[in-house]
């Protein structure tokens, strides 16, 4: 027995080491850079200047805090709406064979589609020169495509939110369908025979049953949309700018001194996501303990 264990540990150690080195090594290197340690340009001293600059300096603070607000707004709204949309879609079509097939097909196609493609699609459909604007103008619902509201590259991130909803609702949908499938209809039938009407069955049976999976999926989606770069880069505006885009621009900056700020910002983004995840676990843990 003991020999087996040693063998297993020995055999998984090399790949494990590589993973740890690559992954945590990268993070460690980033962390060190964010603290101003950049031997390449002759900087060896450790300080928090980059963090201070991002959070409080006249140059970056306003950009950072508006960016953070936009980030939170976009991630919360898109995650919430994608979850709600997927929930209603899943509930509406789960009992119809046709609806199930069609929705499954659309969403399954959607899932592997790169975010970049979705972003381009959003521009194609929702921009002022897009399909929708031209169609509405053609139908005389608006007088010219220019009257179409600014939904893409707008300061409230509507285009970004639309792209995330479109993409992330597929993820929610597939999770929800499998949860609903495994739950079956017995709980609802039971509740119905106990006198629960349609709304009460949704409120007191379906919602609490799917909530745990919906919540976990939301955390994943939220964390992803909070840190993702390509959709806001394509569909966002210069100001306010979402944090991942801001971080990336620091890296593109030919001035190597901006590297530290870029790294500091990336680490701040990672920290915020981590704190949110910890809060989530803390909340669910206390809920379980209360149970």
């Amino acid at each position: 027995m003991g020999g087996d264990k040693t063998k297993i540990i020995l055999s998984i150690t090399p790949p494990l080491l590589i993973i740890i080195l690559l992954f945590y090594g990268g993070i460690f290197y980033g962390l060190v850079q964010s603290l101003g340690y950049q031997p390449a340009i002759g900087k060896y001293e450790i300080n928090f200047d980059a963090y201070y600059n991002i959070l409080f300096s006249e140059r970056y603070a306003k950009l950072f805090w508006t960016g953070l607000a936009l980030n939170l707004w976009v991630s919360f709204v898109s995650t919430f709406l994608a979850a709600v949309l997927a929930l209603f879609a899943a509930l509406a079509i789960r009992k119809t064979f046709f609806g199930k097939t069609v929705c499954n097909f659309i969403y399954s196609l959607n899932l592997p589609m790169p975010h970049l493609v979705v972003a381009v699609g959003i521009i194609f459909v929702f921009s002022q020169s897009g399909l929708l604007a031209r169609m509405l103008a053609q139908l005389n619902i608006i007088s010219s495509p220019g009257d179409f509201p600014v939904l893409v590259k707008d300061k409230y991130g509507v285009g970004i939110i639309l792209a995330y909803i479109w993409k992330e609702s597929a993820f929610f949908f597939i999770i929800l369908m499998s949860v609903l499938q495994s739950l079956g209809e017995n709980f609802e039938e039971l509740a119905q025979s106990l006198g629960a009407n349609r709304w009460q069955r949704f409120r007191y049976v379906i919602l609490p049953l799917v909530m745990p999976s919906l919540f976990s999926a939301s955390i994943i989606v939220f964390a992803f949309s909070f840190g993702a770069y390509e959709v806001p880069a394509l569909l966002g505006v210069i100001y306010p700018q979402m944090l991942p885009v801001m971080a990336f621009e620091f890296f593109l900056n030919p001035d190597l001194n901006a590297r530290s700020e870029g790294m500091a910002l990336s680490i701040i983004i990672a920290l915020i996501v981590m704190i949110l995840v910890i809060i989530y676990f803390w909340l669910t843990q206390t809920r379980i303990r209360k149970d």
Binding site: E189, L194, G195, Y204, L209
Partner: protein, 351 residues
């Protein structure tokens, strides 16, 4: 407190060659406990679901106190079904589970609390209100499910396989609890089982169903003494069957003439089948019988405590006989014996 009339109920499912429920009619008196008995797939759950309204019948009617309920939606029928796997809401504690239907009605929380406590006492679980379903044993879960079903005074209580998930010793306890509560509250109740012993022990009357068709609806005793056909007899442990040809006042068979004093002889076809329960057959070394006696040979003797079982062959016909072990005669394998089929115990049926 409800009288139930199920009239010519039919349900078809696509993909099935026969109706899942085929023209079933059952009348249940107020306060009766009825068993729907039959093998797996015979349509028992489908019948319960039609009564709750979760399925719509293709034909027929369901009446509670002489009023059709087919147009009433499930949630307004006040017909409560307890599912086989209890289905306690995992995110609610026992109190919330039991109080569910009153909450749906919008009752005052104080009233709900009081009723919940009463119900938990009724099922003999007064102190577990704060627990989660996960923290309960199977038997406790079953009782909570029962309390949850009974709290709103249902007009009709439906139990789907209430005992099949329980251990043997819990089953006895639960069976007694169900009957005592059912009689105490006087609630009309219908339960589903595939176990004839369970049906006999619990039910006032049994509806025996094969392949969606009602075979017989009668008191348990009748299924033993006067089965409607061979399959019904076999389902209740019948093993002795003798093919007969009807004559004016006797029956011919491969072992000879058989007489019966059955009343409904006129209803029997010219070819019919006699059955007799093993415990009603008599055997003896000497011929001490008046009629329906035959010479046979003992093929095997199996002692099983209180009873001893004999396999007898008479002219190629095999019969089983079961005698009380106490005071038994000395009869052994290969012995020649006289076998008596008492004419008041033999039952003849069409098939």
């Amino acid at each position: 407190m409800t009288e139930v009339n199920i009239v010519n109920l039919i349900k078809n499912f696509s993909g099935m060659t026969r109706p899942a429920v085929d023209n079933i009619s059952i009348n249940i008196q107020n306060g009766e406990l009825i068993a729907l008995l039959g093998p797996s797939g015979c349509g028992k759950t489908t019948i319960l679901k039609m009564i709750t309204g979760l399925l719509t019948p293709d034909n027929g009617d369901i009446l509670l106190d002489n009023q059709s309920i087919l147009s009433v939606p499930t949630e307004k029928r006040n017909v409560v079904m307890v599912f086989q796997n209890y289905l306690l809401f995992p995110y609610m504690n026992v109190n919330e589970n039991v109080g569910f239907s009153l909450k749906m009605k919008g009752d005052d929380p104080k009233v709900i609390n009081k009723r919940v406590q009463e119900m938990l006492e009724l099922v003999k679980l007064p102190d577990i209100g704060e627990r989660r379903p996960k923290q309960l044993s199977g038997g406790q879960q079953q009782r909570v499910a029962l309390a949850r079903a009974l709290i709103a005074n249902p007009r009709l209580l439906l139990l789907d396989e209430p005992l099949s998930n329980l251990d043997a010793h819990l089953r006895d306890e639960m069976r007694e609890l169900i009957t005592s509560i059912q009689k105490k509250l006087g609630v009309t109740c219908m339960f589903v089982t595939h176990d004839q012993e369970e049906a006999v022990l619990l039910a006032d009357k049994i509806a025996l169903i094969f392949d969606g068709k009602l075979q017989n609806f009668a008191e348990p005793k009748e299924f033993y003494e006067k089965p409607i056909n061979v399959s019904a007899a076999k389902f209740f442990g019948g093993v002795n069957f003798i093919e007969l040809n009807k004559n004016t006042n006797y029956f011919d068979s491969s072992i000879g003439k058989i007489i019966s004093n059955q009343k409904n002889v006129d209803e029997l076809h010219s070819k019919c089948i006699a059955t007799i329960r093993p415990e009603n057959i008599k055997i003896s070394r000497e011929n001490i019988y008046q009629d329906n006696f035959f010479k046979g040979k003992i093929k095997s003797v199996i002692f099983s405590g209180t009873h001893t079982r004999y396999k007898i062959v008479i002219n190629n016909l095999n019969l089983e006989c079961s005698l009380q072990s106490l005071g038994i005669q000395n009869i052994n394998k290969e012995d020649e014996v006289f076998v008596n089929l008492p004419k008041d115990k033999i039952w003849i049926m069409n098939d």
